[in-house]
Amino acid sequence: MSFPITLTVNGTRRSVVLEDARVTLLDLLRERLDLTGAKKGCDRGQCGACTILLDGVRVNACLALAVSHDGASITTIEGLAVGEALHPVQAAFLEHDGFQCGFCTPGQILSAVGLIQEGQTGGDPERVREGMSGNLCRCGAYAGITEAVLTAHAALTGPDVLPGRQLAEDAA
C-alpha cells in the first residue's frame, strides 16, 4: 500500500509517495527531503530536538505520522532565515550563547518561535522557562536560552511587555 502526500515545507510544495505508513514527519524531513536541521534525539517525544512548526504551531515531529498530515504546512530551522538575515530568535541565540554543542538548538529555536507566537508568556522569565520545558539541553545552556527567548520576545512583540525583564534590569 502506498500513500501519496503533499506538504508545503518552508514555503515550497513537496510531493512524496510513502511506501509505508510508519514514516514520521521527522524521518520524512531528514531521510526523504534532506532537511536534517530537525534532530532525532530521543525519537519518543521527550527531548524536543525534533521540534518543528506544523501548520504554525510547535510540535514533536518524531511522534507525528507523515501520512496523517497530508496537505500540512511545515517550517523547519532551514526555513527561518531570509537569505543571510537571521530570524530574531536565531540572532538572539547567538547574542546570548544559547547553546554549546548545538544539537538541541534547532528544536530550541523552533520551540521559542512557537512559544512567542502563542503569546502566553508576556516576557515573564518564569513563564518562558516553563514554556520551554519540552526542550532538553544536555550542555545546560538554559540560562542563555531563557535570555535569548526574552530578547527575541522583546524584538518581536515590542519592549512594553517585559515586566519580568524590566525588574531584573532594575535590580541590576
Binding site: N60, A64, G131, G134
Partner: protein
C-alpha cells in the same frame, strides 16, 4: 514498529465500522500511541485516522449552561479557551501542568482521556504485564513501586492513570460521549476508566469500534469557578507526570463551604473521586482542622502496593494544600508554574499578612 494499514476516516460511521474490526486502533495526534507503537507495546494491524472527522474540534456552550468539548480539541487550545479558563479554571491549570508545549499543541481531548499508564513495567516488553499480556503476571509487584497505586489496585495490576486533565474532569462530574456500533451513549467520566480487578487489560468501558466524540461538563460545574485549584507534585518542576495530584473546587455559601469537589490523580488506575471527603466538607467552615479531616477521609481506604506508603501521606497533604489554596480564591490567571506547590499563590492579597498556611511546612 510493526507495519500497519492506514485508513483515513471521513465520517464517524465510517470510522466506527473500520475500527470495530479486530486489531484496529484509532489514531488522533498519536502523541501516546505512536510512542507505544515504537516501543512494541501497542501493535495494531490497522490505524483508523480520525483527525479529519468534521465537527469534533469545537467547544460548544449548551443553552442549559453545559459545555461540550469535541474529541479533537487540542489540549493547548482547550486550556487557553477563555470560556474554559474562566468557568473551569482547574481544568485549564491541570492541562497546562501536563506534558510540554509541543505535546499540548498536538494531543487531543479524547487522546488525553484515553492515554495509557506510564508504569515502567508496562513499557518494558521484557517484563511481565497483565495489561499487555493477560495472565502473564505483574512484574511491578515487588519491583520498583514508588510511583504505583495506593487506591483501588489489585494483585493483578498496581499501575496508575497518568492524566492530569481527567482529575478535574472527575471532580466536576464530566461525562464522555461515545459513538459506537450500538449507537451513541454517554458515560460518567468517573465510570469510564475501570479499576484493574482481575482484568487489567480492560482499561475503559469502551467496546470494539467505540469512538469518544466529546467530553461534556454539566451546568453545575461552573459553580466552583471562584474557588478552584489543581495541585500536582512532580519529581521536577515541569514536564513530568504527577507523583500525586489533586483537583478541588469549593462552592462557598457565605463563610461556609456549600459544596466541595475533590479528586486525586496518580493514586489509582483511574482519577479518584473522594466523595466521603466532599460530604464531610459540605456545610463546614474552611478551617485547617476541617481540611485535615477531609484529607483523612479521602485516603481512608489507601494502602501501599509496595514501597509507596509515602504517597498516602503526600496525598493527604496535597488535599489540604489544594483546599487551602482554593479557599483563598482562584487566581486571575493560571500561575507561571501551573499546579506547582512551589509557586507563590498569586491570589494572596498581601504576602506579609498571616495566612491559613502560617506554620505549615512549605514543602508539602
Amino acid at each position: 514498529m510493526k507495519a500497519f494499514d492506514y485508513i483515513r476516516a471521513t465520517s464517524v460511521a465510517e470510522a466506527v465500522a473500520a475500527a470495530a474490526r479486530p486489531g484496529a486502533a484509532y489514531l488522533a495526534a498519536g502523541t501516546n500511541l505512536v510512542d507505544l507503537m515504537k516501543g512494541g507495546i501497542s501493535r495494531p494491524d490497522t490505524l483508523v485516522d480520525v483527525t479529519r472527522l468534521p465537527g469534533l474540534d469545537r467547544i460548544e456552550r449548551g443553552t442549559d449552561g453545559s459545555t461540550r468539548i469535541g474529541a479533537l480539541v487540542r489540549n493547548a487550545a482547550l486550556a487557553h479557551d477563555p470560556v474554559i479558563a474562566k468557568r473551569y479554571p482547574a481544568l485549564a491549570e491541570a492541562l497546562l501542568s501536563g506534558a510540554s508545549g509541543q505535546l499540548r499543541n498536538a494531543a487531543t481531548t479524547a487522546g488525553n482521556v484515553l492515554q495509557r499508564t506510564r508504569c515502567p513495567y508496562f513499557y518494558d516488553t521484557a517484563s511481565a504485564c497483565n495489561k499487555r499480556d493477560p495472565g502473564a503476571g505483574c512484574a511491578a509487584l515487588g519491583g520498583v513501586t514508588r510511583s504505583h497505586a495506593v487506591l483501588g489496585w489489585s494483585e493483578h495490576c498496581i499501575a496508575t492513570h497518568p492524566s492530569d486533565f481527567c482529575v478535574p474532569l472527575a471532580a466536576l462530574d464530566a461525562s464522555v460521549e461515545i459513538a459506537g456500533p450500538g449507537g451513541p451513549r454517554s458515560v460518567p467520566l468517573e465510570a469510564f476508566h475501570r479499576l484493574p480487578g482481575d482484568t487489567p487489560e480492560r482499561e475503559t468501558v469502551l467496546e470494539p469500534g467505540d469512538l469518544v466524540v466529546a467530553v461534556t461538563l454539566p451546568p453545575e460545574a461552573e459553580a466552583f469557578a471562584g474557588h478552584s485549584r489543581y495541585l500536582k507534585v512532580r519529581e521536577r518542576t515541569s514536564y513530568a507526570f504527577a507523583v500525586v495530584s489533586a483537583a478541588v473546587g469549593l462552592r462557598m455559601d457565605g463563610d461556609r463551604i456549600g459544596q466541595a469537589r475533590i479528586a486525586l490523580g496518580s493514586v489509582a488506575l483511574k482519577p479518584w473521586r473522594a466523595r466521603a471527603a466532599e460530604d464531610l466538607l459540605a456545610g463546614a467552615a474552611p478551617t485547617p482542622e476541617t481540611f485535615a479531616a477531609a484529607a483523612e477521609a479521602a485516603l481512608a481506604d489507601a494502602r501501599p502496593s509496595g514501597d509507596n506508603a509515602y504517597k498516602i501521606e503526600l496525598a493527604r497533604r496535597i488535599v489540604v494544600r489544594a483546599l487551602t489554596l482554593a479557599a483563598a480564591g482562584t487566581p486571575d490567571r493560571v500561575p507561571a508554574l501551573p499546579a506547582s506547590p512551589f509557586a507563590p499563590n498569586p491570589s494572596a492579597p498581601n504576602p506579609s499578612a498571616p495566612s491559613p498556611l502560617a506554620g505549615a511546612p512549605v514543602h508539602a
